[in-house]
């Protein structure tokens, strides 16, 4: 099992390389369509043409496009993502601080969304044909009609403004000194240093954005799990298990649920990828210092080095999630790990 999982991961990584090359080339070309001049925007008004030319050369923007791309790729290979035009800092450094924050947010949001979704799906299945199912179904339809970023605003309105019980700005209360980063993941770092005050504050700050993200995932997980359970329960092997006198609860848990999990896992993989997209606006709205916030700032300021680097990081994350889901799928589906 574990050897096959490693093989799969290895193959996934190999396949990811051409995809990432295509993705980076795509991003590079799109960004060079840009009508506005990022250099001009980053200089104070009244800067001389010579100043602008100098800066352009400094960022390598005066070279032909393929040359720029190859140079960028070469630097990328050595871990050099360039310098932000707007922040005037190393892009790698910017990403290194922002990435753990985003990963922490997505991990909590995804866990919450999947937990709620699975619980809801099981409840819908248990109440099939009854009013409870209809109510949950309508609830899901309602939740899905509001995108994550609007949930973010509504949650702030509810729990930050109307009934101010939750913090909604940043990762940590301003009165708590940020401990020296160990991993960059606040929840882990605080536990490692036994700083429960930091842990509590970080968790409280994560709550609203994570809920906003979870609402985007939970209804979908719920519906897919419910409908796969309804499909699976009609399968011959479920009927045959019942005909062997296996109690209904065992039939559902042992025979139906494991088979119904397969399409649900695929869906969670796709949704986890989308969730990284969802973090962009949610982070911006909660002033949460993650990749999304960095991306929005970069987009507003036409900060090309940051945009293309962060865009690429998002793609790496999505491909990583896909690989992880594949391994999980492998663990649940014996058909993939055993030769027929």
């Amino acid at each position: 099992m574990s050897r096959i999982a490693l093989l799969l991961l290895f193959r996934r990584t190999l396949l990811a390389i051409p995809i990432l090359l295509c993705v980076s080339a795509l991003v590079f070309v799109i960004l060079r369509l840009l009508p506005a001049d990022p250099v001009a925007m980053s200089l104070p008004p009244g800067a001389s043409a010579a100043d602008m030319e100098k800066l352009r050369q400094a960022f390598g923007l005066d070279r032909p496009l393929p040359v720029q791309y190859v140079i960028w790729l070469g630097k990328l290979a050595t871990g050099d993502l360039g310098v932000s035009i707007y922040f005037r800092r190393s892009v790698a450094e910017l990403i290194a601080t922002a990435l753990p924050a985003t990963l922490e947010l997505v991990a909590v949001g995804l866990a919450l969304g999947v937990a709620l979704g699975v619980a809801g799906g099981l409840a819908m299945f248990a109440w099939r044909g009854r009013a409870g199912e209809q109510a949950l179904d309508l609830g899901a339809a309602g939740l899905m009609a509001i995108p994550e970023f609007l949930w973010a605003i509504l949650l702030i309105l509810l729990f930050g403004v109307a009934w101010p019980v939750m913090p909604f700005i940043g990762r940590l209360s301003p009165d708590i000194a940020l401990p020296a980063p160990l991993t960059g993941f606040l929840l882990l770092d605080s536990l490692a240093r036994l700083r429960l005050d930091v842990f509590a504050s970080a968790l409280a700050h994560l709550a609203l954005p994570a809920v906003a993200l979870a609402i985007g995932v939970a209804p979908l997980v719920m519906r897919v799990l419910r409908s796969s359970l309804l499909d699976v329960i009609q399968e011959d092997y479920v009927t045959q298990a019942r005909l062997r006198g296996i109690p209904e609860r065992t039939v559902v848990v042992r025979h139906a649920l494991r088979n119904a999990a397969l399409p649900t896992i695929s869906l969670i993989g796709v949704q986890a990828g989308f969730m990284f997209g969802g973090t962009v606006l949610v982070e911006m709205i909660f002033a949460y210092p993650g990749l999304g916030n960095l991306m929005v700032d970069a987009v507003r300021n036409h900060d090309l080095p940051v945009i293309q680097a962060v865009g690429l990081v998002y793609c790496v994350l999505v491909l990583g999630i896909n690989a992880a889901v594949d391994v999980l799928y492998l663990a649940v589906n014996p058909r993939l790990r055993t030769p027929a």
């Binding site: 193959r11 019942r242 005909l243 062997r244 006198g245 042992r254 494991r258 027929a340």
Partner: protein, 612 residues
Amino acid sequence: MDVLEARGLEVSFGAAKVLRDVSFTLRRGRVLGLVGESGAGKSMLGRVIARNLPEGFAVTGGALSFLGQDLVTIADEPRRQLLGDKIAFIPQEPLTALNPVMTVGRQFDEHLARLGAPRAGRRERAIAALAELRLRDPASLLERYPFQLSGGMCQRVLIAMAFASGPALIVADEPTTALDVSTQAHIVQIVRALQRDHGTTLLFITHDLRLASHVCDDILVLYAGEVVERGPAREVCAAPRHPYTRALLAANPPLDGAARRLVTLPDTMPGLAAFASLPGCRFAPRCPVKDPACAAATPPLRDIAPGRAVRCTEACLTGAAAIVDAAPPRPPAPPPGETVLALETVSKHYPGERDWLGRRRPGVDAVKPLDLTVRAGEFVGVVGESGSGKSTLAKLVMGLEAATGGRIAVDGKDVTVNDPAARRVRLGALQMVFQDPQSALNPRRPVSRLITQAMEAGDGRWSEAERVARARALLEETGLSPDLLGRYPSQLSGGQKQRVNIARALCVTPRLLVADEIVSGLDVSVQAQILNLLLDLRRERGIGLVFISHDLAVVRYLCDRVVVMRHGEVVESGDTDTVFAAPRHPYTRALLAAVPPEDPDRPWPPEPGPAA
């Protein structure tokens, strides 16, 4: 002692009585066959026992008791206790009846645990149970997943599980229908041996009267939800009394003896919706000897001899005897014309697909180099089990797949490469009738546009009136009413769909039809209608036929020449009568031996081969 007893059992769907007045007793250690075509209601009984009736169906009268316990009124929990323990089931589709994500061992273990076996000896018990079925290396079998096993192996595992509890009753619903003929013979042999050894009572549900005559002690023949005939299996098959039983046997082509034209009944069995308009004998509308009284009131099931009962009047019974005797001999084959199709060393290799790790699986030689010529007016049968490459052969002939080697000629012109010119030659001379009319008929086209679809092709310069005229002619030729012109496939019966399928192939007046398993999904009586239609088409049009089938009896009835295929290779070919009378290749002999013979007194199934 009676294990299962039904008294006036009635199952309804709304106002329609799906089972009407079903009564029988099944004594300990006996095998009762429940025989009927699809829609006869034969599966309902098993579903009543398991309380697994489809939605909207309910038991509305009578009683069904198991060892004195009423199964209709029993509460859910005690019924669950009976299932798997005292009453076991052998399913129809073995491949889907085992959970795909659990090993065979886990499922067997779960079953033994449910029977209350202590954990310690369960593995040994499972191994012993599988060994009893002559499955090779049962210990390693336990580690495998269902998708790694063949259908026959899955079925053996399920049979072992069914017998594990030493049940009083086993319900086997079409346990061999999804399997190849040779596997079917093995499975039947195993079930019979276990049943005899354990003294188990067996309820054997099947559509195949001939199979039932060899497996069962007694038979109930069901028609449209009613028992029409009941009696000892051999007697019922050797001397059927009810006109339906007679017709059913006469519609089934034999493997030996003189070929007579098959006797066919008009139309098909009435469905649920028609039951309300049939207050009397439900067979009356199709009965060749019916009497006006039959349509008004159902005749009772009356005893005519010890252990034998028939639901028919005395007058009808005497008249029915005439049906079979009246059958004329099968029309002789006309002298064949010029060669239409010629295959020279044609082969097809499929490269293996890549798996998720990117490793290429080994490829398959679906068809190994093969020669075949078919002349106008000639009927050639291609026989083989699943995986023999017979369907690939049809696709190669029709140009739906490209051959990897060899040469295909139609009317002497090379059509190996399916370019537009070859396509014109090929499609002018050859047409195909597909296996599954459900899949072959576009549900969005009415019959008139389906059968004249070829007139739409290219620039489509036919007027609407010309199309309708052609459609009418084709319907008439295939024995369909012109009322069907505006119908859609979903509104047709299985037999009607297959006739439409044939009519479509006839639209371009081909000289050769390629028919891939076109009667395998049909009931015997409808199958007989289609076979006779094909013979009539030869007489009227001089058409030739490549008939691909797994059913040897059907091929014997229809074809002048036969080609036996196995693993993509032709193992034997020749004149049909010669091959069937004196098969040379052991595989042909094994295939023939696996078919239940017409004579119920001939011992069958044959002694089993080596363990799988």
